[in-house]
């Protein structure tokens, strides 16, 4: 038997082994296990702020760790820094390329990053007298879909070139390239302990990576279309994904499988974005149908909806203190709800 034939046989055997091991661990599912848990209260949130200022579709937003400032990115070619308490714009950063798809705030509050169809991640210093570009990270061969700072010296990116990359911000060079997806990487989320991250891609898979050794540790399947959104559960033991297949799913990392799916026959729009409340009990998921649906993460039931945007909800974010949820939309507005 040629080596190619042997490899194919071994691959099939390993896949069968993995499926059998997952099945053996599947003695229940999350919704059944949580049947005795009191339902989450009906969640009715009010719009507290409507942030007006962008002139075109908003594609991304990210909270600062101070729970007050946030950055948003629009294809009007600007990043805007907002004070969410007052609703005022604190800064505007003009972008070289208006085709922006992601933005990020560094944990220190000193830096923000953006990127998109220019295939680059550009990092800006907000604390210099005039906002300066400090680095242009230029090595991806596809669009930049997501960026997240680990610190002022390291940033993780995901790209349409199917890779994720950890960059050294002092040298501007790639430290680690994470190779395994076979479709455009669309989103990433850092683990609470910062030792790993998960990525979601157009190959309908989510993957867990060790940041330091670059290895893909686990692959989660179940979605039937692109995964556009992904987030770690605050406990660090589970992840939530959102997909063009109109569902969100929870995968437990230690059980290595899907444990619950959040879906509704009436919902036939893709999920664009998601974030979790502070305890993880509530999932806020933005959809193409202009709404953000609120799910009980344990019981799988829809417990509320945020309606108010006049176009697709493209980004969703809960600040670190869990005091509100922000939605951004193609209607050019951001809304803050609690």
């Amino acid at each position: 038997m040629g080596e190619m034939e042997q490899m194919k046989k071994e691959a099939e055997a390993l896949k069968t082994q993995i499926e059998a091991a997952r099945k053996a661990a599947h003695d229940t599912d999350m919704a059944s296990a949580a049947s005795g848990v009191a339902p989450a209260p009906r969640v009715q949130l009010k719009t507290r702020r409507t942030l007006k200022g962008h002139l075109a579709k908003i594609y991304a937003m990210h909270w600062c760790t101070d729970n007050r400032l946030m950055v948003s990115a629009s294809q009007d070619g600007k990043l805007l820094i907002w004070d969410s308490h007052t609703g005022n714009k604190v800064n505007a950063v003009p972008l070289k390329s208006s085709w922006v798809m992601t933005c990020a705030y560094a944990p220190s509050g000193n830096l923000v990053a953006s990127g998109g169809l220019d295939n680059m991640c550009t990092v800006y210093n907000l604390k210099t007298p005039v906002i300066k570009t400090v680095k242009e990270l230029d090595a991806h061969t596809g669009y930049l879909s997501c960026a997240r700072f680990l610190s002022d010296t390291e940033i993780l990116t995901s790209s349409g070139d199917t890779t994720c990359v950890l960059w050294d911000l002092e040298t501007g060079k790639q430290k680690t390239v994470f190779l395994n997806h076979v479709g455009d990487c669309m989103c990433l989320s850092l683990s609470p302990d910062m030792n790993s991250f998960v990525s979601g891609a157009c190959d309908s898979l989510a993957k867990l990576w060790d940041i330091r050794d670059g290895q893909c540790k686990q692959t989660f399947q179940g979605h039937t279309s692109d995964i556009n959104a992904i987030s770690f559960y605050p406990s660090g033991n589970a992840i939530i994904t959102g997909s063009d297949d109109c569902t969100c799913k929870m995968y437990d990392i230690r059980a290595d499988q899907e444990v619950i799916s959040y879906q509704d026959a009436a919902l036939n729009s893709g999920v664009t974005s998601l974030d979790l409340s502070a305890s993880g009990r509530l999932i806020f998921a933005g959809y193409d149908d202009f709404n953000c649906n609120i799910w009980d993460s344990l019981k799988g039931e829809k417990v509320g909806v945020l309606s108010g945007h006049d176009n697709r909800v493209s980004c969703t974010g809960v600040p670190g203190d869990g005091m509100c949820v922000c939605t951004g939309s193609w209607d050019s507005f951001l809304k803050i709800w609690n």
Partner: protein, 76 residues
């Protein structure tokens, strides 16, 4: 609407790729898995312990809500 580029095709006929795929599957097959019942119990416990620190779940009193517009005081 940003169109997603078509995925790069990983040549499944390529021997090096096949070796890489088998190596990856070996890594993924070797992990220890816990039962979903235990995973669920741990998640439920985590939610239960942290519910009180979850403002969106518990509700936020108006006086503590930085986003609630305070009604103006009228000096009589």
């Amino acid at each position: 609407m940003v169109s997603k580029m078509s995925s790069k095709m990983v040549g499944s006929n390529n021997l090096a790729n096949a070796r890489r795929m088998v190596q990856q599957l070996r890594v993924e097959a070797s992990i220890e898995r816990i039962k979903v019942s235990k995973a669920s119990a741990d998640l439920m416990r985590y939610c239960g312990e942290n519910a009180k620190y979850d403002p969106l779940l518990m509700g936020i009193p108006a006086s503590e809500n930085p986003f609630k517009d305070k009604k103006p005081c009228t000096i009589l």
